[in-house]
């Protein structure tokens, strides 16, 4: 075991898979010698060579096409999109092409690609770096959307994603990259895709969330515990496909739910979680499902982030509202 930040856990996962399978290759803008703009690929080119870890021209769509073509030649590409806000340049490759290939060829071809990309607010980035765009991809059939909230999950989920034989988009929240350390095994291990985790057990209200909001939800739960409200925090970990069984089980247990996301109310996957609960567990509900999300504006100017991003206080308030309904 070693104490690792989330980004160290990611680098470790990438190294494990480069070591294990010679078909695993990584590329993107500045991921080679530079080791990535966040150091996620630090040292990997040095260790595994320029044939395995390499830089590309500055063109996201080209990177997406490169990944598809290399996957067709039997590689397991792990391309990086430098910031998720730039995914619009490569949307066709991700959802118009990679996500459809197994289906369009009747299961005779598959593209084992993992698109890695940082996103998320709270670090005062310039425009279009932090936007929460997971909802766009989650609405597209044929690709999984994974968002870890801690170092242990990040490593295990990324290894699973790389070994998955279908395309995955792996979204790394920038605020979580170095905000805390956690014990992470040094050897390779997997965390299953499509499975949520109960981060904190509770009996009164379930908070279902993902990404940076998991930490906020735990903070809120600790505060509410002192008021005698027991909050169960569910970390989705994979936002597409959703772990329906865990979601339904927690609703059956607590009867009250708050769905929390950093994305705008009209975006993210919160509405999807709410509709699944309405369809599958409405008779277990003691109160309407609460929702915490960002306002429906464009992602804020850096200085306005604190007023805009949902936080532990917003979650506390919403939990009390649902609890006291």
């Amino acid at each position: 075991m070693a104490q690792m930040t989330l980004i160290q856990a990611i680098t470790d996962a990438l190294a494990c898979e480069l070591e294990r399978d010679e078909n695993v290759i990584m590329f993107g803008e500045d991921v080679g010698k530079n080791g990535g703009v966040f150091r996620a690929t630090q040292g990997l080119q040095e260790q595994f060579g320029v044939d395995r870890v390499f830089d590309t021209p500055l063109a996201e769509s080209g990177i997406g096409g490169l990944a598809i073509g290399l996957a067709l030649e039997g590689y397991r590409p792990v391309p990086e999109i430098q910031f998720l806000g730039f995914v619009f340049e490569v949307m066709d490759s991700v959802v118009g092409q990679a996500a459809r290939t197994r289906y369009r060829m009747g299961g005779t071809r598959n593209l084992p690609i993992v698109f890695r990309s940082p996103f998320g607010g709270g670090v005062h980035t310039p425009e279009l770096h932090s936007d929460n765009l997971e909802g766009l991809i989650a609405q597209s059939p044929g690709i999984k959307v994974v968002i870890p909230s801690n170092p242990y999950d990040a490593k295990g989920l990324l290894i699973s994603a790389i070994r998955d034989n279908d395309p995955v988009i792996f979204l790394e929240h920038m605020k979580l990259y170095r905000s805390f350390r956690e014990e992470v095994p040094e050897e390779a291990y997997t965390v299953p895709l499509g499975k949520a985790a109960i981060t904190r057990e509770g009996t009164d209200v379930s908070v279902i969330t993902y990404g940076a909001m998991v930490r906020e939800a735990v903070k809120a739960a600790e505060k509410l515990e002192k008021e005698g409200i027991s909050v169960e925090v569910v970390d989705l970990r994979t936002v597409s496909p959703l772990d329906i069984e865990t979601i339904v089980a927690t609703v059956q247990k607590t009867g009250r739910v708050v769905v929390v996301q950093e994305a705008q109310r009209q975006a993210g996957v919160g509405a999807m979680v709410m509709s699944e609960i309405s369809e599958r567990a409405i008779l277990h509900l003691e109160a309407p499902i609460g929702r915490v999300a960002a306002p429906d504006t464009v992602f804020p100017f850096g200085q306005a982030e604190n007023d805009w991003l949902p936080n532990a206080k917003d979650i506390e308030d919403k939990v009390r509202e649902v609890y006291n309904f």
Partner: protein, 368 residues
Amino acid sequence: MATYNKLELDSLFSATNTDFSMVQILDETGKLVHPELMPDMTDEEMVELMTDMVWSRILHERSTALNRQGRLGFYAPTAGQEASQLASIKAIEKDDVLLPGYRDVPQLVKHGLPLSQAFLWSRGHVAGNIYPESLQALPPQIIIGAQYVQAAGVALGLKKRDKKNVVVTYTGDGGSSQGDFYEGINFAGSFKAPGIFFIQNNGWAISTPRSVQTQAVTLAQKAVAAGIPGIQVDGMDPLAVYAVTKKAREYAVAGNGPVLIETVCFRYGPHTLSGDDPTRYQPEGIQDEWAKKDPIIRFRNFLTEKGLWSQEKEEAVIERTKEEIKAAIKEADQQPKQKVSDFLKSMFEEPTYIIEEQIQQFEAKESK
């Protein structure tokens, strides 16, 4: 008109080439105007190429008729592009990878896709896209330009695997305006990866003439932006297309990187049979004008002169092709109806919880 000799043709395959005048071997009447550029083809190979071109023209005519009868679906006419399509595919090897656009079905079939599957693709049936492992190709690409960036990736894969093969991809004149067009050739150039990128410049992108796409004098010169060789060729001349493609393949396989080839050609008739009518936008007489440049007439004259082709031979090819088409349509008709449960099963290697639910739901429906 270009007056190259073979040596000069070699000089076009250079990243610093700035000569984009059109390479031609046969003129419109089928006269050999540049004998020094004649590709190394046996008489038999030339006859095969003529056979392929006649086959393609008949396939076009029958596809049009079958579409009108409602026995085919999406169809993008190919008449006029036989030299550009069939001569280029003849110059590549079986293990080379083909990434076609939506008009490039003839190349796919010649590369190994059974004709019945091409018809199923037209109708919108998944069986048309179930390719054996040995068929080095993707189904026709609908998103114009996507095949270019993917070709760059395939090319890099071939290079990394040390395969002595190339990827071949096609787009049209309109497609050369796309971002993915540029990114594709630039990536392949940057990685010195073995790709042959075709622009089949047939003058029109639906109703938009080539002149509206760009003020660039040729489309071949767009290669300069990627630092790779760009060659313009008479796309109605099968020998010129074959010669240039063959050379491009040698150049790419030797590790020199990709080549961009513009074939100047024409599509007789509409963009697709989905309601397009060229008389709304094309100048009067343009179809007749290009009919005079017909690649089949030109090659027929050339081969007949050499005693390699005859009306009887051509009629035999036509007859054979019609039979082949009839059989392929019949085979396509026998394909079982598609099932939604099968679609659900081919979304992922392992169905997710929600997909598994839907499989059960549709299987129940389908068993009724």
